[in-house]
Symmetry: C4
Subunit: 274 residues, 4 copies
């Protein structure tokens, strides 16, 4: 649903609320003429499909895991593939969900990811986040299950600073579970754990990666894996490791914001067979 | 051979014996009209062939190793490829064996796996098992040769709980051997070692993986490998590792029973060239 | 620009200056008739393009990193691809730069690598170097971030002797940065660090590899990676490691100078689809 | 050159000399009618070419390394590719050498491997060996450079028993070298080091693998790599490792002699595009 927002109301909103650039962008696109917005939505869903295929091609996702993107025309909705292996997702499989995890106008026969609450609750908690990846990345899970902190090994993974928190579902729920973020309460606890960070690990399960755009969330997921591999190699050497410090990481992260598109475009070309 | 079972006898059997769901299923399919049973058998053998190719594609099997499935029409028989590299198995290579490891109606020129006793003796000991994989998986053998216990690193490998026993053929036989499970006595000792578990390692040799269906045995074999890789990475860090505890694993295993089909279908598509 | 050099002036130059063989070669090619020199330039640029593709195929480069070659017709210029993923570089994307990092006759719309100063300042400092690779090689970065010295594990990586220095940009600049070699001053500091060696690591960033030809710089980059993998495996064993000593490495390096062409030709065939 | 051996002389030779089965076979084939022997030679050279391609496909060889086979028609000669990357070898590139490393009837323009003395001196020292592989296998070199002994992790690599000696060229020569086995004296020292074993490592260089047939030498090279990977993973865990003991290995090796053909045939199919 496209909210009716007058210029005045928009100005008031800008003045009255601390809005991140991403939310500004969301409101901006909400004001677009219908045709352009529909064109934007089609391109966005194509990017979401590409993101699924890229993350499989880059070995971040296997038969499991999911990617979503907030609807710029309605920030209370997000798009995600229906319950399907990421490698098989097409535009026809993409469903809109609300922030309670309910499907909107889904086709009959479609089933939905048990863990859509990961996405819904992060979108609720983080106005700056417009794209989310949940994966069972196998090079990252060892870090989720040990006290070792994942930290930036190089400038390209600077977004891991300042912190990569670890979500332990047993602590969140207060007892044993089947490890799935299967309802809003657990989703909220996970969102609380990730705080303002880009990545959170999930003990005995995997990770969640967030970003303001699809391109950047895919980039972050791929390079979180790369960082985990490098850090594991360094750790196995037994030698002290120097990581990027907080200032270096913050500065490098601004560069990543500028240059990540090159990797995204290259990966898109690859999965589209060019 | 299809046993003649009247409804009354079936009811008596159900009442008188503690039957697992799998055996019930076996008896059920034994009652099917011949055409449907033959259709089932054809599909089952296609799945067995696919399982061979998937396990090669997923690097669980190389030129060696084998997969079998119990015959639902006659639980005293099982199907397995003849002595051939798994990558080369076709439906025409599949042979029926009895629980002594004898081939039934095999074609002339066919030779048989030396270690068919692994399968026969596990089917004898485990009424709940209808599919068996024997592999020389190289990421798992290091765990077979060291005292380190393979334990579930994430929810997807929850079936490793409660235990992954290690079979040492030297202890079983009481002296040196060529490491092969080459007769019924050694097969029985291996079946005794695996107990009620899903996976047993074989010191200096490989592993055996069991399940109620082909799809699940392939899933378990692939994710036993994945777990071994992750656990090896965590171990090399020297840090204490948190695994799924018994309650978490039992709960997660119920989810695996529900969702493993997605991976199986994806892998089948891949090896069939789609 | 082709300098006008008479035979006499050439002889004087040879007599008066201590010229490395590479510079002699550069002067030599400067005297070639225009057609041959242009033919040489075309072949050189094709090799530069091939080098980009080989280094991606060999997993030394991903979406980032760059390769350059000094212009034999004008040693104050070097050729490099414009700001583009190495996998996508074609001859039309190759730009000539001067030693201040300025593009010469670049096409409109072309952007340039932020870190072209890595190449410019190394060409300035090293008359013997005619080809440079900058990569974010992920098996090498762990060595950049720990005190462990990269040393030759076998004869093929003998060029790592006598030393693989580590450049720490924080020390060079005297404070935090975004980790990029984004100006001539930082480039000079990196060139100073590499000294007369073939490879320098860059803490929290990657590496730079230099050589007198494209073929040899690609060879060195590929085998630096191979050496890093082998050394990491040896280090993880905890056992003492024997490396090539200085004399062995110097002798083996002469062989590498003779035989590296075989690998280069093989890799070129592979990326050209033969 | 086919030696003229009468039946009587053959009988005398058998009586007078302790001949291994392999030499008996060589003498036997020397007595074959010319056409059959030529047919055998053509098939042997095709297998030699396939061995090169398989070892590249299995990542044992890269642009470097070589495979040879003794000529069954003249055990004083062996066949090997000329100085060429193994991936590129065809039947037309195969040259016959004598035990001094001289080429016999080689084509003009052909150059020869600097290290052909590895092959010649092993054939001289080992009447039971008819095939030799020299590789720079990168998972094996860490074992060559540390005191850790390569030992059989499973039945398939039983041929590593009883011993995998390490050749150190510095000790053999009494001073620094370029690491190459570039003359008969060094070749003899390497042959002395390997003794009666199947594999010897070469410090700072690689390995040599020997066997009575091409199929078995390729099998041994591939599974030496596999064993090295498994053993490295076990070592990195820090836990005590149980290897096959000498009796187990000897018994398992008899099985390997029976079953290695299955892997060889599968690998041949793969490189021939089937």
């Amino acid at each position: 649903m496209k909210p009716a927002i007058t210029i005045g109301a928009f100005a008031f909103a800008l003045a009255a609320l601390p809005l991140s650039a991403a939310v500004s962008f969301a409101l901006f696109t909400a004001m677009l003429p219908p045709a352009a917005a529909q064109g934007n939505e089609k391109a966005l869903i194509e990017d979401l499909v590409a993101a699924n295929h890229i993350l499989v091609d880059q070995a971040v996702l296997d038969a499991y895991g999911h990617v979503s993107v907030r609807n710029p025309a309605n920030p209370q909705h997000f798009f995600m593939g229906r319950n399907l292996a990421p490698a098989l997702v097409t535009a026809a499989d993409v469903v809109a969900y609300d922030m309670d995890g309910n499907a909107i106008n889904a086709k009959p026969g479609f089933t939905h990811f048990l863990e859509r609450f990961i996405h819904a609750e992060i979108y609720n908690a983080r106005a700056d986040v417009n794209a989310v990846v949940h994966s069972h990345s196998m090079v990252v899970i060892p870090f989720a299950n040990t006290p070792i902190q994942l930290r930036p090994m190089f400038h390209v993974s600077s977004f891991l600073s300042p912190n990569v928190p670890v979500f332990d579902i047993r602590k969140a729920v207060g007892g044993p579970t089947n490890m799935l973020v299967g309802n809003a309460a657990i989703g909220k606890a996970l969102a609380e754990t990730i705080g303002q960070n880009s990545v959170a690990l999930m003990r005995g399960h995997g990770e969640v990666v967030v970003a303001p755009t699809i391109a950047l969330v895919v980039f972050r997921a791929v390079y979180t894996d790369a960082n985990a591999r490098m850090q594991a190699q360094a750790i196995a050497s037994g030698a002290p490791i120097v990581f990027l410090d907080a200032e270096e990481a913050a500065a490098a992260n601004k560069v990543v914001d500028q240059v990540h598109g090159r990797a995204w475009e290259l990966w898109k070309r690859k999965v589209s067979g060019q």
